[in-house]
C-alpha cells in the first residue's frame, strides 16, 4: 500500500513546548464532533512512537528544548513536524524572553507552519495535510 495509505491514516502526537494553552485547545477542538479529524483518518495518539506527525505548540522554553529534541528522535521515520500557532513559528510576543530558546525550527526541522493566535481548527487540519504532502515529495525524491 505504501505511502498512498500514509496520507489517509495519520497519527498525530501533540507536544506543548511552553504554549499558553490557546493552540492546544484548538487542537482538541479539531477532534470534536464539529470538525472530527478522524473522518480523514487523523488520530491523536499518546506516544511519539506511534506518531507520524508532531504538532508543536508554543515558543520553546529552555527546559523544553532538550525534551522536544528527544521526542523528535523517538518518533519513527517517516515523520513531519507541524508548528501550530504564531509562538512556535516566530516565538511571538516572547521573542526576547530570557527563558525562550525557540522558535521551534531552531531546535528541530519543521515541515509546515500554521500561523494564528490561535489558529482555527480548519487551518490545523490543512497544516497537517500540507506536511504529509512534503513527506511524500521527499519519499518520491529518494526513489528517483
Amino acid at each position: 500500500m505504501g505511502l498512498s495509505s500514509f496520507k489517509r491514516a495519520l497519527w498525530v502526537f501533540h507536544i506543548a513546548t511552553g504554549s499558553c494553552n490557546g493552540c492546544d485547545i484548538e487542537i482538541v477542538a479539531a477532534l470534536t464532533p464539529r470538525y472530527d479529524v478522524e473522518r480523514f483518518g487523523i488520530k491523536l495518539v499518546g506516544s511519539p512512537r506511534h506518531a507520524d506527525v508532531l504538532l508543536v505548540t508554543g515558543p520553546v522554553t529552555r527546559p523544553m528544548a532538550e525534551r522536544l529534541k528527544r521526542v523528535y528522535e523517538q518518533t519513527p521515520d517517516p515523520k513531519a513536524v507541524v508548528v501550530v500557532g504564531g509562538c512556535g513559528a516566530t516565538s511571538g510576543v516572547f521573542y526576547d524572553s530570557y527563558n525562550v530558546v525557540g522558535p521551534v525550527d531552531a531546535i528541530v526541522p519543521v515541515a509546515a507552519y500554521v500561523p494564528g493566535c490561535p489558529p482555527r481548527p480548519e487551518a490545523i487540519i490543512h497544516g497537517v495535510v500540507t506536511a504529509v504532502a512534503k513527506i511524500e515529495a521527499a519519499a518520491a525524491g529518494e526513489k528517483r
Partner: protein, 330 residues
Amino acid sequence: MSALHLLWQGAAVVVGGGILGLVYKGFDRKLAARMQSRIGPPLRQPFLDVGKLLVKESVVPKDAVGWLFRAMPFLAVVASFTVLLYLPWGPFPAILSGHGDAILVLYLLAVPALAMALGGFASGSPLATVGAQREIVMLMSYEFPLAVAVVGVVWRLATLGGGPAFSLAAIAAVPLWTQVGPLGVIGLAILAACLLIVTPAELSKIPFDIPEAETEIAGGLMVEYSGTYLALFYLADAAKTIAMAALVVTLFAPYGIAGLLGLSGAGAQAVDLAFHLVKIFAVMFTAVTTVRVAMARLKVDQVARGFWLQITAVAVAGLVLLVLDRMVMG
C-alpha cells in the same frame, strides 16, 4: 481429511478471520463515531492504518530486552489467530476440531494478554511497566468469572449427555436453552450476561482499557511499540475481538436460520455462515462498541474488586441455578 486440505482450510480461516477482524473494527469505529454524532473514518480505515504502520520504521529501544520485545507481537498474533482455528464457524466445524476444546481456547485467549504484558515489561519504559502490571491484574480478575461461565455451560451439557465434555463442536450442536428447565434458563441468562461483561475486559476496551490508558499512561503496554510490531498487535486485537465474540456466540447462541428458511445444501451453509457472522457482529456491537461509547475508564482497583466479588458472585449464582436445575430436572 488430507493434510493439504487441512492446510488450505486453515489458511482460508486465518486470512478470512484477519480481514473480517479489520472490517469489524472499521464498523466499530464508524458506529462509535455515529453515536457521538461524528462522521467517522471510512470503513477501510483499519486496513489503511495497518498499511501505514507497515511502512513506518520499527524502533527497538536501547533499554529494551531486544529478543523478547521483538518476539511478543508475533506470539500475540499467532495465539489470537490460532483461536480462530479451534472455533466452529456456523455450519462448518472447527478446522482443528477434535484436537482441542473449550479449555484450550480459554488458555489461548489469555496468551495475547500475557504476550502484551511481557512485551511491555521488556520494553524498558516505566509507562509500559505500569501498563503491563495493570494487564496482569486485569487478567487475574476476569479469568475467574470467564471460567465459571464456560464451565457452567459445559458441565450442564455433559450432564445431559451431549457428546464429549468441553468439546466446542458438541456445545455448538446442541443449544442448551431448550433442554434445561426454567431455573436453568435463568442460570444460563446470568452466565451469558457475565460473559458479555467479561468480553470488553478480555479485549481491553473502554471501560477496561486500563493497561493502555492513552490519556494517563500514554498507551501503556504499547508505548514503545512502533511500525510493524504495532501493526502485529493491531491485527492480534482485531482477530481476538472476532474470536471472543465467536466464543460467546458458540456457547450461548449456536442457532442457524437455514432450517427456518427451508434451505438445504450449499445455500443453507452460506446462509448459516452469514447468520453466524451477523451474530458475532451483534455481540461485538453490544459488548464493545456501545459500551465503549457510553462509559469512561474504570480504575484498576474497581475492576479487580468488581470482577472478584460482584461479577464472580453473580456468575457463581448462575452456576448454582444450573446445579439446582440438574437436581430438579434430573
